[in-house]
Symmetry: C2
Subunit: 266 residues, 2 copies
């Protein structure tokens, strides 16, 4: 289901910065009869402002995937409406969705189309912890973190990521992503994989993580990442890591739609 | 429902150190038809060792209350059975219960009767956070933390805590508790109240916290804690804070049942 573009009548666009615990959602995208983040957001928004289509999300998170920095956008016929959103929207959202910030953007702004980059984090835990079971994948046993870090370096730059994408969802000619950063933070309790790219294919981060863990277990060599990238088929890569370890951390916009600078505080 | 004491046939007792996320349990204590921590523990234990009664808990946590250091005890007819428990029990517990440790204790050991002290933590959050909504009470607005800290000092020492106890559950002549420690850790994100005492009455920590927040809001003076203690009636104290901010952190045993020293590693 595609989001509707900003209509010419919109005077401005409200840019919403959202965090959510994905545990109790069937993902971001609205689906009839299912509890989704976009659905809950629409339910609240449509009571406050005239809604012109479904508010897009910068990254469409799957069921169980979390976000600390998801961005959505809502075209508004007048700037003053942002005051109403800022005041009333936080209390109308369920406790597993947090509206972190609302900013005004010019009428051309679109949460997904205007985005220039996304950053994801995938969290793994080395020993069971009941309090982190919804946000971390439990990966027990020895892991060669140095080998995993070496494997990460092969992801940097512009590559076709078809091998790391759910086969059915490969869009023709849209499989090239430019990875700006791919690194692993590690301590005795957990491993955090951080990846930033201009765009991501479906299940790309989770398939990269599943493959990195195979490298960590010594089942694949770090250099295999190159062979996998060149193969351009999903079967070349490792298994898909479970959704609950993944979080959309940040969305980056170009200078014409700065996210670090406040516009029209309304 | 009372736990059964150690039978004379027990050669030793397995002391279980448990952590659990209380969100999806109807509390610790076994209840027919409801999912409880004790119930899940019994289900797993009875498949591994001959169970002689219900394994007691050092602190009976209410529905929604968490634990990072709950202790239970299981009398065993022979020491060798602890090996079986250590190997098989972790995998037989649901993911929201973690067996942190098993130790062997002499046959007189009882998780509740042998306990000499407990330490609880109550966590409060200053701004909403979807990822901490199950473990923290959201307390927004200004709080005078210094006043709350001053109020804490009045709790130290031996007092009758009837005013901070659910009226119906006051056991006759058993309302005196010796508080060894009561303090507040605070930063810009959260407040943590820590309290250690030889024993706790039902809902005592949560009622103290509800009253401390009233002090923090300026609705009561720190010295009111003394008046409330002297009143010896529940209506003198403030509201009961919600269960999900509470966690049983540690149980302390006397030197005859040391918890810091390993016995019979099996």
């Amino acid at each position: 289901m595609n989001s509707v573009s900003t209509t010419p009548s919109a005077a401005c666009v409200a840019k919403l910065l959202l965090a959510y615990d994905g545990s109790e959602f069937h993902g971001w995208q609205v689906q009839p009869g299912l509890r989704t983040v976009q659905g809950c957001l629409m339910d609240a928004l449509c009571r406050l402002v005239p809604l012109d289509g479904i508010p897009p999300g910068a990254g469409r998170t799957d069921a169980g995937v979390h976000a600390r920095g998801q961005v959505s956008s809502v075209p508004l016929p007048e700037e003053a409406l942002v005051v109403r959103l800022r005041r009333a929207l936080p209390r109308m959202l369920p406790s597993d969705i947090l509206l972190r910030e609302i900013r005004l953007e010019p009428s051309g702004f679109h949460a997904r189309h205007s985005a220039r980059g996304r950053r994801y984090r995938y969290s793994m835990l080395r020993a069971p912890d009941p309090f982190r079971r919804r946000t971390h994948w439990l990966v027990q046993g020895d892991l060669d973190v140095d080998a995993m870090r070496q494997a990460c370096t092969h992801l940097l730059g512009e590559h076709c990521f078809e091998s790391f994408c759910v086969a059915a969802s490969v869009e023709k000619g849209r499989t090239v992503c430019r990875v700006q950063n791919a690194e692993i933070e590690s301590d005795h309790e957990q491993l955090q994989f951080h990846i930033a790219a201009d765009r991501f294919l479906h299940s790309m981060v989770r398939t990269i993580v599943g493959t990195l863990v195979e490298v960590g277990r010594g089942r694949r060599a770090p250099e295999d990442m190159e062979t996998i990238l060149r193969a351009r088929r999903r079967s070349a890569a490792g298994p898909t890591a479970p959704p609950h370890g993944l979080s959309l951390e940040e969305v980056h916009y170009s200078d014409t739609h700065p996210s670090g600078q406040r516009r029209g505080e309304g």
